[in-house]
Assembly symmetry: C2
DNA sequence: TTGTACGCGTTATCAG
DNA sequence: CTGATAACGCGTACAA
């Protein structure tokens, strides 16, 4: 039999409405009574019923996080951090690994106070809410969108990567990433690369931008393999994501090449996992701490007051130097 | 303004109890009315209120999954699969990345119908529920436990790994894993190794079982590095987990050794990520499809009828051959 | 087959 | 400060 506030009221000799107040730490109850009630609640093993609470208060103190791509691990550290920040703000967080549409439906049913969406790949077009409307915040790419998003300044990221490589002496740099038109974020990365290279006066050849046709490690692997088998190889590669980098590493190994001796590699995604690869990679991206705080603060602000944050907020990426870059080999090496 | 069944009732000219029945697809309503009600509901953009539904029915049709170690990616594929199976059974699933204790509290507040716990490392002792009691199923190691668990037959796994290596000609096999007494699962793995080696008549030296003192890739890395620097190296290693294997790979690379030419490696954890490593690893473990089905079926059965499943269920592991094992090098090589 | 009425556990609004 | 009491949205006996 479940313990309710009525049971507590009975056991502690006050009315259940007083119990309710005491449990919510209302200033309207005498400290003595409050203490007693809490004690009894503890003793009885009381667990609040969110369903009832949410039904009565129209608030759930919970936010939902949609994360359909848990296999793409680039985000797991971010999720953990976000959870931490959420709790610090005395909210709870629940996740769903369903596709965005289904997950949002689920969260709506739960009447979460706000929703965060992590989508990599094709962004779902969320139907205009005919019914109830819940604050939604996406970690996504700028463009047409009705919900606010937190985005990364992709061009700046690419800029930092290219500048770093340039300073090491690289002129022949390739970008390897997914170019499928459905994924705006990936498009933006490659376009940024194009622009930065132009601005730096570095020439773009046919091999400068390589389409992996997908975001999995295998796509990166096949693309890199093709690239590395050619006679005129780049001296440095910028990879569009963690997973693609994993594939590139594999291809590099199979071609008996060494990083950074034969090839420098910078990866997108500034995550801890970069350091634990068989070859630790230098990377660019927004530090997860910053991202987590920005996202949670924004969503909570949105919950408090609709329209209180800009539709687009861009975060500044940073370069995280590890050991996968070096000055390009001397000329003779090119005939390899 | 949120749409409720009363609104639907009003708009479609029936009572709201009829609407309720229609929405739940009860046989007690005429198909005509049912169709009409559903249509109106759709039109109005109705979203059921789980809070209310759960309050009234005392069921949430939702299970909670506790997963504090999302960084340890070995389980992400399993989680996705479980979600799939759960939905197929017309339940929903929500996740929490909190520590088990907090997560269970959260889920209890939500009145989920059942809870699954994924803990790697120290298993939390859940307090005896003074209050409400929810079916809990753990993915854990056998031992003292009050909640039912799904476990892996670790000894069999090790047996398969050793047998495979033995057949390839290996006699000098080491196990590299975490031996911290807090983690029963890891203990069981290493003990299994010991037993199997004894039974196979293979001798155990001081280097046969190596304690990584932790489960992260870095722990695997330092342990392997120490091992590989010695003059008498094993010809094959069995690694206790995916992450540890990642570390071993890194150490192997730094020592300028090749897999499988200089060293064979089999990893625990039968997950897709094994194939995408820079060096794809042969692995042993329970196929995730089987695991997912067993876990979901067991929990649902537990929800339907408490005590309807055994306290411990062991799953049979399988060997997944990739390319990280070969016959040991000829004798001369040993002087490397 | 449909409608009425009550209860689920909690919050919130008043009146004491 | 405390205690009734009316919602909150829905499921479900029970009545019609």
């Amino acid at each position: 039999m479940t313990v309710t506030i009525k049971d507590i009221a009975h056991a502690s000799g006050v009315s259940y409405s007083t119990v309710s107040k005491a449990l919510r730490n209302s200033p309207l109850v005498k400290p003595d009574t409050k203490k007693k009630v809490l004690q009894v609640a503890e003793q009885l093993g009381y667990t609040p019923n969110f369903a009832a609470r949410s039904l009565a208060s129209k608030k759930s103190q919970t936010i939902g996080l949609v994360w359909p791509t848990i296999e793409r691990i680039a985000l797991s550290a971010l999720v953990t951090k976000i959870n931490e920040v959420v709790e610090k703000n005395s909210y709870s967080m629940i996740l769903s690994v369903n596709r965005a549409k289904e997950a949002v439906e689920l969260f709506k049913s739960f009447r979460v106070d706000g929703i965060m969406i992590f989508e990599e790949g094709g962004e779902t077009q969320l139907s205009d809410d005919t019914g109830l409307t819940i604050p939604i915040l996406s970690y996504g790419v700028s463009g047409e969108h009705t919900h606010p998003i937190i985005d990364v300044n992709h061009k700046k990221a690419i800029y930092k990567a290219v500048a770093y490589l340039y300073q090491l002496g690289h002129k022949n740099i390739s970008y390897v990433g997914d170019l499928s038109p459905a994924d705006k974020r990936q498009i933006e990365k490659s376009k940024g690369f194009e622009e930065v290279m132009m601005e730096a006066g570095l020439k773009l050849s046919r091999n400068s931008i390589l389409n992996t046709n997908g975001l999995s490690w295998y796509n990166g692997y096949t693309a890199a393999k093709k690239l590395l088998q050619q006679t005129s190889k780049p001296t440095a590669i910028i990879s569009g994501s963690y997973d693609i980098s994993v594939g590139i590493l594999r291809a590099v190994k199979e071609q008996q090449l060494s990083i950074p001796e034969d090839l420098s590699l910078i990866s997108y995604d500034n995550i801890p996992q970069m350091a634990s690869l068989e070859t630790p990679l230098t990377s660019v991206g927004v530090p997860i701490d910053q991202l987590a705080h920005k996202m949670v603060d924004s969503l909570l602000s949105l919950i408090r007051e609709p329209g209180s944050i800009p539709l687009t907020q861009k975060m500044d990426p940073e370069l995280n130097v590890r050991m996968s870059c070096a000055s390009p080999a001397v000329l003779g090496k090119e005939n390899n």
